[in-house]
């Protein structure tokens, strides 16, 4: 069964307050090399066999546009395994 992984993150132009806080915590721990930390969410799902990969991707994109991501604040990345 194909597995779909969708990664939703805040758009790069928006301040990720949570990411900034975690990045600063890593700096406190001595990981000074860390920059550009962004926090998002990962959504995994299974789809039935027999659907073409392009079709799966297209449907997942529609799911993101309609529900899984907020078009105002978030962008998404789809991976089909």
């Amino acid at each position: 069964m194909p597995k779909v992984t969708i990664t939703v993150t805040l758009k790069p132009t928006l301040l990720d307050a949570q990411g900034r806080t975690v990045e600063s915590a890593l700096h406190t721990l001595g990981f000074d090399e860390v920059s550009g930390l962004r926090i998002g969410k990962v959504i995994e799902m299974q789809l039935p066999d027999g659907i073409a990969a392009e079709e799966i991707e297209a449907r997942a994109a529609t799911m993101c546009d309609k529900l899984l991501a907020n078009p105002v604040t978030e962008s998404y990345r789809i991976e089909v395994h």
Partner: protein, 260 residues
């Protein structure tokens, strides 16, 4: 059994005739109740206790607004804020009716989670993000009334500073530049967070909202309001402020005027 029946029964308790409308026809607001709403009773009670009319509570699974005169989408954590605040509530059956009511020019006010829901539903532009400081904020804030050209704020004066509580973790209003320019050009920013003297300073912005925006107006007839602060929690002096009751009075006045 849907709890709406019970709620509706309770909601009809105190309805005093106020003279302007006769005893048979009083403005009736519909308060939408989602699983996880927690300001629904506050909203209904503020309306009833101020003697503005009657209230009916509408469960999210219902498909009929029961002929209400205005709709309040209350605060809370609908569906446990699953995915994003307001993301799931917009698919509730009752929201189709709310959208239709709004499109027809009916008065709809979304407060806190209600604002988030109206944005997610596309009835208002923009989105509410996590507060910039990441903390849940629960306190009284000062708001400057930016426009009185809405039914909700018609009884205020432009520049009025009112004290109303906020209680949210995701109240950082965000929109793209195009939307922002349109909101400004069309006089659609209704409230801004401000200092007690009315100055909109960064310090008076509790959550990082763009340009201190606390509430906006939309809809075909400037009939859809969304705001993060809770006017229903500032609707009696006993609650520390009655500044919010004038907003509800504005709804009432608009309904009375429309009834001819």
């Amino acid at each position: 059994m849907s709890p709406a029946g019970t709620l509706a029964k309770l909601s009809t308790v105190s309805t005093v005739s106020t003279g302007e409308w006769d005893g048979t026809r009083r403005p009736r607001v519909g308060v939408i109740v989602f699983p996880g709403s927690n300001c629904d009773r506050d909203a209904g009670n503020a309306w009833i206790e101020n003697e503005f009319g009657t209230a009916v509570y509408l469960w999210h699974q219902e498909t009929d607004l029961q002929g209400v005169d205005a709709v309040l989408v209350p605060g809370g954590f609908s569906y446990g804020d699953a995915l994003r605040a307001g993301a799931i509530a917009r698919f509730a059956p009752i929201m189709n009716e709310v959208a239709r009511f709004a499109a027809d020019g009916g008065l709809v006010a979304g407060i806190c989670n209600g604002f988030q829901i109206l944005c997610e539903a596309g009835l208002l532009p923009g989105a509410l993000m996590r507060n910039e400081g990441l903390r849940f904020i629960c306190k009284h804030v000062d708001l400057r009334v930016e426009t009185t050209a809405t039914p909700f704020t018609a009884l205020y004066s432009p520049g009025d500073v009112i004290s109303v509580p906020v209680a949210h973790g995701e109240g950082c209003y965000t929109c793209d530049d195009e939307t922002y320019d349109r909101l400004v050009a069309e006089d659609r920013i209704v409230f801004r967070y401000c200092a007690p003297d009315g100055a909109t300073t960064p310090q008076s912005n509790p959550n990082g909202s763009r340009d201190n925006i606390a509430g906006i107006i939309g809809g075909p007839r400037r009939n859809v309001l969304g705001m993060m602060p809770h006017p229903e929690r500032a609707a009696a002096l006993a609650l520390g402020s009655a500044d919010g009751s004038r907003l509800l009075a504005g709804i009432r006045a608009a309904l009375v005027a429309a009834s001819g």
